[in-house]
Structure formats: C-alpha cells, structure tokens
Symmetry: C2
Subunit: 464 residues, 2 copies
C-alpha cells in the first residue's frame, strides 16, 4: 500500500479482514483467543502450583506466570496498549500455522488481545462478585469507621511523604512529584482479596477492614487520579469534577445497596418462578453486570458494581447456592485477570545492569519504601479493636497491582513524568504487588493454624 502512511496500514488491514466473510475471519480470531487462553491457563497453573508448593500464595504464581509469558520474557501474550508493537510470538505462531499474511495476522492478534482484555476485566468482576458474596454486609458496616480511617490514612500518608520526599530529596518538580505521590495511594483490592480468600481470612475482622478500606481506596484512587490527570493536563484542578466523583460514588454505593436490599425479595420470588437452566445464575449476572455498567458510566469502576451486587445477593438465602455456581466460573475467568496483570508488567525496568535504569531504581527504592511504610502505618490507626492484627491490615493495603499500573499508564501518556520517575513508579508497583502476598500470608500464619475461621470461602478441595 504505497499510498498510505505507515500508521494506516493496520487499519486498512482491518478493512481487508472485515471484508473477508465471517466464515473465514471469525475462526482465526477464535483460534487466537483459544491459544491465548491456553497460554494463560498454562501460566496460571504452573505458576500457581509452584507457589503453592513453596508455601507462597498461588495468586503470586499466577502474576509471575503472567510476567513470564508476557511482555517481559516470552512475548507470548502482548497487549498493544495503543502504541505499535512487535508482533507477539503467539501471533507469529498463529500466522504460520494458519497460513495468514502479516497484515491479517496483526488484525486478528489485535482483536484477540481486545477479547482477552475484556475477559480479564470480566474475570476481576467475577472475583469481586465472589468476594462480595462471601463478605458480610453487616460486618463491613460494623467496621466501616475503622476501614474509612485506614483508607484515608493509606491515601494521605504515602501521598504526602512521597510528594514531599521527591521534591526535597530528589529535586523533582511539583507537578510530577504530585503525580508520583498520587500513584502511591492506590490499593489493589483484587490481589489482597484473592490472598485473603486463599488463606481463608476474608471474613476475619482484619479481612473485613482490609476489604472495606480497599473498596474505599478504589474510590479515593479514582478521585485522586482524576485530580492529578487534570493537573497534569491543564495545570489546574477541576473542582466540579472532584465533587461530581465524590457524590456519584457515595450515591452509587449507598444507593445500590439500599435499592438492592429493597428489591431482593422481588428478585428471590422471580428466581423461584423460573424453570429453565441458569434460573439463579443468569438473573444474578444481570444484576452484577447492570451495576458494573452503571459504575463505568459514572466514571467509577465496574468491579465496584460487581462487588456491590455480590454484597447484596450475599444477604439473601440463595447465597450458598450462588457461591457454588460462581466457583467454576471464577476458576475459569479469574486467572485470565491475574495472568494479564503480570503479562502487562514490564520488568525490564528492574535490570540494574542497564545504565538507563539506575536513576529510576534509586527513585524506585525511595518510592517502594514510602509505598510500604505509608500503607503499613495504617494498621496502627485501627481503633476500638484491641486484639486486631495490625500488621495484617497494614500489609493488606500494600499491593498496588492493576490500579498502580493504570496510574503508570496515565502517567506515561500525560508526558509530565521523566523517564526515571516513570520507571520508578512501575518498579514500586511491581515490588509492592509481588511482596505483599507472601508477607500477608506470613503475618496471618500463626493465627491460621490456631484459630480456624468458620464462615469463610472454602477452596474447592482437589479430589483424589
């Protein structure tokens, strides 16, 4: 195509592929998705099983498995994220086995990677729905004040310490310092909740405070991100947008729980009258997906909607039955999320032999320190609970996970961050994400053996 500029080529390939009829193009996209899922499942199982054997949380293994198959090592699973990328090893493989030409292959690969992205997002929604089902709304409300303090301190402490330290110690300009400080405020509810479920501490008082605080942090994170993104873009903060986000998140959370509880007798009555397969599952998924949609439209996150739906349905008598049905669905979709988080993480910034990384690594050490200390201190703020495991709460707030990656992506896109600072943020996200699961398991360890909890999510026991 000599008449078109190079950036148009994949797009023209898209028309070419679209004009190919359904019977020809569809199967190739499906084939690419199937192969990606095989790679994801393989990575999640190998990583998870190795971690389980050395007494680490399986979810850590899924993340590491994702890193191995992703952008950092094997390039089997690569997401374009907007920029032009090298074709992944998987694309090349599909292209050769299916005998496609290069442009069609790249369209197929891009579409397949979009599908995998959405599957991973549905996966984390299913995870949060499951966590919501297993959480206890009364218990969450009871620890609400403590969770709120933990959440707020966990945002303010690392933000202030990070921004101040970058400006005074590293002479970073104020706007990028604020941005980096903001990236320190995130908490990955997915990773913490998964670890808590794995060690069966989700419904412990510590678990409930962590989940409550992580949910609030998710909202605070969205607000902080909106503020700093507008600061980075325009140099000013749109107060009206901040107020909108605060009001909409409060209205959404309170509203969906209240309305959900009001409607749940109607819901149960309807479920009982349905006679076809999926009579409980499908209405529940409709509820979760509607709330997820509303959350996205309000510029919140879909996982908040899924979590709230789970919370409301967890209050009903159908809870156990629904938990059983969600289990295999979660087993199928949740690993997609964790492997994708790992696959998206570029660990090449961790290589100290690369001279360009060194400035970033020095800043990173500082950010990691602030990130961990700034969240661990939140454990000390829990009041009125003398026997609570404060270390567990503090450490439960540490992983930045996928939320941190979003901050890093927005930071890269905005252009306010220097290369060193950008790398430093990514390193901070990696270290906090990978260090928290084993630490969390460690601080919960003594109690786990002494005190079996009663009302917790039970892992599907492997048979035989």
């Amino acid at each position: 195509m000599p008449l078109t500029t190079s950036f148009l080529q994949p797009l023209l390939a898209a028309t070419a592929a679209e004009s190919v009829n359904l019977a020809e193009a569809g199967p190739l996209i499906l084939a690419a998705v199937l192969l990606s899922l095989v790679v994801i499942y393989f990575a999640s199982k190998v990583g998870g099983e190795i971690c389980a054997r050395i007494n680490f949380p399986p979810v850590l293994g899924e993340l590491v498995g994702g890193v191995v198959v992703g952008i950092s090592v094997l390039h089997l699973l690569v997401f374009s994220e907007g920029g032009p990328t090298e074709p992944s090893v998987l694309t090349t493989f599909i292209q050769q086995t299916a005998g496609m030409d290069g442009t069609v292959a790249s369209v197929v690969a891009n579409t397949a990677s979009e599908v995998i992205s959405v599957l991973s997002e549905i996966g984390v929604m299913i995870l949060l729905f499951e966590i919501g089902l297993e959480s206890d709304l009364e218990g969450l409300l009871k620890v609400g004040p403590q969770a709120a303090v933990v959440a707020v301190v966990g945002v303010v402490a690392p933000f202030v310490a990070g921004t101040f330290g970058l400006v005074t110690l590293f002479h970073v300009d104020l706007v990028p310092a604020i941005f980096a400080g903001a990236a320190l405020t995130a908490t990955s509810i997915g990773i913490t909740a998964k670890v808590l479920a794995e060690i069966q501490r989700l419904t412990s008082p510590e678990g409930q405070i962590i989940i409550g605080a992580a949910v609030l942090d998710d909202i605070l994170g969205i607000i902080v991100l909106a503020v700093v993104a507008s600061l980075a873009k325009t140099g000013t903060v749109e107060i009206s947008n901040v107020i909108y986000l605060i009001i909409s998140s409060v209205v959404f959370l309170v509203g969906s729980v209240v309305v959900g509880r009001l409607l749940s007798p109607f819901f149960l009555g309807m479920v009982d009258r349905l006679t076809t397969r999926g009579n409980l599952l499908i209405p529940s998924l409709i509820f979760a997906f509607v709330l997820g949609y509303v959350a996205v439209i309000l510029q919140l996150e879909a996982i908040l909607g899924a979590f709230t739906a789970g919370l409301v349905l967890g209050e009903t008598e159908k809870r156990r039955e629904l938990e059983e049905q969600i289990l295999p669905i979660a087993d199928m979709l949740v690993p997609v999320f964790f492997v994708c988080v790992g696959a998206r993480t570029d660990i090449s910034v961790l290589n100290p032999l690369e001279p360009a990384n060194r400035a970033g690594l020095i800043i990173a050490s500082f950010l990691v320190l602030v990130a961990i200390v700034g969240k661990v201190v939140t454990g000390a703020t829990v009041f009125g609970q003398p026997r609570i495991n404060r270390w567990a709460i503090g450490i439960g707030m540490v992983p930045r996970g996928e939320v941190g990656l979003i901050f890093a992506a927005v930071g890269s896109a905005s252009g306010v961050l220097s290369k060193a600072l950008d790398a430093g943020i990514i390193v901070m996200v990696i270290v906090t994400t990978f260090v928290a699961p084993p630490l969390l398991r460690l601080v919960f360890k003594p109690e786990t053996e002494a005190l079996p909890t009663s009302d917790v999510a039970v892992e599907s026991p492997p048979e035989g």
Copy 2:
C-alpha cells in the same frame, strides 16, 4: 475529518480510540460488552421461560429472544459482518449515557460486538464439550454405522433433490443451484443437541445416532462448503483440497480420540497432583481449547475439537465432577450463542407484503420442503434397530441453524446467488431451525413420560 474518505472514518476513529489511554477506552468497551450481555441474558430468559411454559423447548425461546433483540426487530444487538451498518440502539444508548462522540462510539461498539461473537463461539464450544462429556463413546461407536448412513443420506438426498428441483422447476443455473443444494445439507449439531439435552434423550439410542450423524454432517458440511465455495469462486473444484479436508478430518477425529485415551491416565494423575483451585477444570479447558485450535487450523470447526475433548474426558472417572463444574459455565455462555444466532437472523425476508420477497418465498417453500423431507427420510435408513424411533432421528437432523447461516453468508459474499435464491436459503434456515425443536419434542413425547432414561444429563433443578 474533511480530508479523509468516508469509509476511513471509523478506522481513523480506531486510532483515536487506541491513542486514548487504557484507563479511558477500556472501560467503555467493557461497558458495551456488559450491556450486550445484559440484553442477551434478558432475551434468553424471557424467551426461554415463555417457551418452557407453553411446553416448547427453551432453546427455541432463546433463538426467538435473539431475533427480537437482533437485526430484525429491536436492533439492540447488531453484528457488522463486514458491511457498514446503522449504529445499534445499544450503541446509541451507550454513546448517550457515557457521553462519547459518534466515531469513538462506533469503534467501541464494533469491538464489543467482536467480543460478543467470540464469547458466543466459546459458548457453543462449551455446549459441545458438555454434550461430549455426556455422550458415551462406546455407544457412539456402536451406532457408528447407522449414524454414518444417516449422515450421508442426509447430505446426498437434500443436495440432489434441491439442485435437481431448482434447475428443472425454477430454471436456476447449475452453479447457483448446486450452491443452494449444498446449503440444504447442513445440520446444526448445537440446536439438536441442546433440545435432546433439554428433554433428557441425549443418551438414548436415537440421541446417540443423531449426535453421531450430526458430528459427521458437520464434517461433510465443511467439505461440501469448501467444494461449492471453490466452485462459485473459480468455476472448478480443487480435488486436492477436498482430499485434504477428508484426510485431515478423519485423522483429527480418530487421532484425538486415540491419543486422548492414551494420555488420559497421565491427565488424571496430573489433575490429582494439582492443589490449587480449578485443578480439574483448567486442565480440561486447556485440552478442549487446544483441540479446538487444532481443528480451526485444519480448517475444521472449533466445536469438533471441544466435542472430542468432552468425549475423551467423559470416559474418565472425573466425568461427574467435571459435568458439575461445566454446568454453570454453560449456563453463563451457551445462551450467548443461541441469542446471537437469533440476533443475526434477518426475518424481514419472511414478509410476504414486501413484493421483492415473493420470488424468494416461492423458492423458499420448495427449499423448506426439500430440507425437511430430505432429512426426515434419513430416519428410514436406520438398520438393525427395529424398535428405534425413526421419526425422531429424521427430525433431529432437520435444523440448519448456525451452519446454515454460514452457508448463507458465504453465498451472499460469493455473489453467485440471485437475491431470490439468497432469501430462499435464509428462509429455509429459519424455518428448519425454528420448526425442529418443537417437532423433536413432539415425536419424543410419548416415550418421555413412559420410559425415564437413567444415564442422562440432569437439568440443574430450580429450587424453591
């Protein structure tokens, strides 16, 4: 964008959307997928429940529900299928609620519809995997000769009668007549299998013959499609391609069953050693998806791979456990397939008030007649089974479903079909697909009440 031609606009919008960072574009695609799933689930439950109440097969309701939300009526769920389309009602709704501009909205909608397409294809794979699990390999092999005769007669009879009738009665040219005749040969394994499972006759002798014949028909259909597509394109038949397809499908089916049975002790041993969640499900899905991928690469269909994987795993001691875990996953994904088949079907060609449709409807009446009679006669060919329900077998082969739609799509794309013939094929697909489920239920009815089968798939019983 005044400088670009209009067909490039959605593509340029694609770059615009892709350059938007992950945190902004990703959620909108997710939101569109979530809303589409809500529409799909709603349609499937409303349709399915109504059909269950008037004693029709629920799957018919899912198809009709799909028609209602699809291209024919409400335009909520529209697939682009290569050509430029009107924005769906859903796209407009998302655009307004999320405040996107039109071009971004169309990119988001296209991506979401690709995701839904892939989900529906994974849905039918899960259905065939479930059917394979519940089928009995020994039983299938035992009725193999009968199934082979049914399959071959069910391809030859409607093909010869259809082609001959079109040439002699309607004076259609030979190539388009052969194409339309070929479209008559398809059998929708998905729809028949689903109805058989719903009435719990999947493992009856009739059910096994139908499934065996439908699987063989799927392969014959692929070969026939390859032949007529090449005939339509080049006017000649590539014998080498036909031989390749025959050999590859035989090698694939026999090979995957033989290799699968050889490897299954190793598979079970590995499953028993896994300790993390999904220890049985994930390796099983890897198996099904790998076989699905191989099938696509061999130019066969992914559902054949999934079916074979289910068949092999159904022979192992893990069958029951796996069936239980697949059930909710099937409940979640299978309706996506049936609703999408309905949504893709344009029933406007059925409107006799539209003068342009009349020629098509006359041809269609002939095609429907041949389509039904040509398959029903196959019941008479079953030998060595004196007490078999021959009507049930014949009717079980009638629905063309998604396979017929693919023939119609390839026919449209090839350009050899006249508008009337094209419409006639679509009407034939619609009528056979929608008529077969209630008929199948009817002919099985007397026995269902008299003779409860023992070893069949049990519907998840609605509680309360």
